[in-house]
């Protein structure tokens, strides 16, 4: 088992390395380098050449890639082009806001989606299942900003119960924090809830259709026992994968939610960096999100082989 986990860990590292090549390649080898981006429209050829020399852009791309990668490993994320501040500082001050949003949304959406998914699967074909299926199907296709704006319109603009701005202050008490964070957390939860619930349902149902379940059902076991003892252990690994996938999917959801509610978070920083074409900042943010994503997937894998021993012996 440990060997499989180690192999998987090595694969994860390899993927991360490939991802770093993609990020570096996409942002550095393209026409219009960083120097041109700094100088903007009014650049002269001499200024461009001088800046390129100063920034070491005349060196081969491979050499610069290893410099950048080495910097990342040492925790040196470079300097922002737009603000001239170290990227690490800018990220540090924003990270907590994003993390708090994602953790709160996960704490709400994961248990809810598991409960609803299982309920739906147990009543497959029934009225509850059909209603839930239709609702989630519709919810999946609704853009996050629509959910966010509707919630904002109803609860912040019309009813004035909650705050439309998620910008919290350190001196806020619990109630003020709740008012500020309720809407963004709800929006983010909605975005992943439907997905996770459907995948939970389908992975449980998938197992219901397998021969051993049919056997157990024909033996006359009660439905509850069928679900809890026979279906759930086997369904756990796809469900864990789904959870990890959706937590990482939150990365995309968070981008929209932070913009709608004006959360000063990491993704807002990334979007601003993209607008200003602040390459070092984009690279650093992308690598952070990529690492989180890969780690979550790895975690899902480890948890699922712990839940299901069959996966420890690949064919």
């Amino acid at each position: 088992m440990y060997r499989i986990i180690l192999t998987r860990l090595a694969q994860g590292l390899l993927t991360l390395l490939l991802a770093s090549i993609i990020v570096f390649g996409a942002t550095e080898i393209l026409p219009g380098d960083v120097a041109a981006a700094i100088l903007g429209q009014s650049r002269t050829e001499e200024a461009l050449a001088a800046l390129r020399e100063e920034m070491g852009l005349n060196r081969p791309a491979i050499e610069r890639y290893f410099d950048w990668l080495g910097g990342l490993l040492r925790g040196d994320l470079g300097t922002s082009l737009a603000t001239d501040r170290p990227v690490a500082d800018m990220i540090e001050s924003r990270m907590w806001n994003t993390l708090r949003l994602a953790l709160l949304a996960a704490a709400i959406s994961v248990p809810l989606s598991l409960a609803f998914g299982l309920w739906s699967a147990m009543r497959a074909g029934g009225r509850v299942d059909k209603t839930l299926a239709m609702t989630t199907l519709a919810l999946i296709a609704v853009p996050e900003f629509f959910i966010g704006l509707i919630l904002m319109k109803v609860f912040a603009v019309e009813l004035k119960w909650l705050s439309a701005s998620a910008n919290t202050r350190p001196y806020f008490d619990f109630w003020q924090n709740f008012r500020a964070l309720a809407l963004p957390v709800a929006t983010l939860s909605f975005a992943v809830l439907a997905h996770m619930m459907r995948m939970t349902r389908s992975s449980v149902i998938n197992i219901f259709t397998s021969p051993y379940m049919e056997m157990a059902a024909l033996k006359g076991l009660p439905k509850r026992r069928l679900v809890i003892r026979h279906a759930l252990p086997n369904a756990l690994s796809p469900i864990l994968t789904v959870i990890a996938l959706n937590l990482s999917y939150m990365v995309s959801g968070v981008i929209i939610v932070e913009t709608v509610f004006g959360v000063p978070g990491l993704t807002r920083l990334l979007v601003d960096a993209v607008t200003l074409r602040d390459i070092p900042l984009i690279q650093a943010c992308a690598m952070i999100f990529g690492t989180v994503y890969i780690l979550l997937n790895l975690l899902a894998y480890v948890l699922s082989i712990m839940a299901n021993p069959r996966l420890r012996y690949p064919k």
Partner: protein, 291 residues
């Protein structure tokens, strides 16, 4: 599992033959409505795409234009009609790009196998190790915002998913007996691909196309909402939401209307795909027990 389509019920009309549920029927009608608007929009819209019709910004519904005016005093109704074109056309192009790349490489990997499969799969995996929005942001950050960059980026990002699906389909169908039989007959790779694998993977690929189209609308309008997609003065639904968010606090629904339109389009598409997939499947064990 019984294949329902074998029953050969007498078909009263085309619609009965489709066995539409009411949700699928409604979804189809909505899609048709937007399609007609997209095709004949310029003849229906009372004002131009970027024409300022009123000095009042964020005029409420009924004043100024049919659906009010936006942050610059443009007619929301007209921009909405022009917007459906941009939104649907861009989504269609990106989906076609993703299928052109994804299906070709996916089937090639499934048929050629060996090092080609390994290399392509590894590369796709590395791309998939990144949340798709993030990948698009990185590329847009490097290239800047233009329609060409937008369409190519989103198309390529979406093609990784299409690659996975078509590769899996190719592998699954490739080991079926009828393909073995064709190989034993001495048919060439191209023949097997076009006569055996492609026809048999049509249904899942059509469903995948619908899903990717939905996803692509969400993706593009999300980017436009962030201000990184379609740029003014063009009318795009995602962009319209972004422009008019500020009006929400002034009692204007200029941001909510296009957002609701995007939702109507994507929800309908999803319902239709679901109906299509349901038709292809049998029932689960629990459904059988309950009967």
């Amino acid at each position: 599992m019984s294949d329902v389509s074998d029953h050969g019920a007498p078909r009263a009309s085309v619609f009965a033959g489709l066995r539409l549920t009411w949700t699928a029927g409604l979804a189809g009608a909505i899609l048709l409505f937007w399609l007609v608007l997209a095709l004949f929009g310029p003849w229906i819209a009372p004002h131009g795409e970027a024409e300022i019709i009123s000095g009042t910004t964020f005029a409420p519904i009924g004043e100024g234009g049919l659906l009010g005016t936006d942050k610059l005093g443009r007619d929301v109704f007209s921009r909405l009609i022009y917007g459906v074109r941009t939104t649907m056309l861009l989504a269609l192009i990106t989906t076609l790009i993703s299928f052109a790349f994804g299906v070709t490489l996916g089937f090639a990997a499934a048929i050629l196998k060996g090092w080609f499969d390994v290399v392509i799969s590894r590369i796709v995996e590395a791309f998939m190790a990144f949340p798709s929005t993030l990948l698009a942001l990185v590329v847009i950050g490097a290239f800047g915002t233009s329609i060409t960059v937008l369409v190519l980026t989103v198309g390529l990002v979406l093609s990784t998913g299409v690659f996975r699906v078509s590769r899996a389909l190719g592998y699954d169908i490739g080991v079926m007996d009828f393909v073995e039989a064709a190989r034993a007959r001495g048919e060439g790779t191209w023949w097997i691909l076009t006569r055996e694998i492609l026809p048999n993977s049509m249904a899942p690929l059509i469903a995948e196309f619908g899903l990717r189209f939905t996803f692509s609308i969400l993706f593009l309008s999300g980017l436009s909402f962030l201000g990184l997609g379609v740029q003014e003065p063009a009318a795009d639904w995602g962009l319209m939401v972004q422009e008019n968010v500020g009006g929400l606090f002034l009692g204007s629904s200029a941001a909510l209307i296009p957002a609701a339109c995007i939702a109507s389009l994507t929800v309908s598409m999803n319902l239709l795909v679901d109906w299509f997939q349901q038709r292809q499947q049998g029932e689960t064990v629990l459904e059988k027990i309950d009967q």
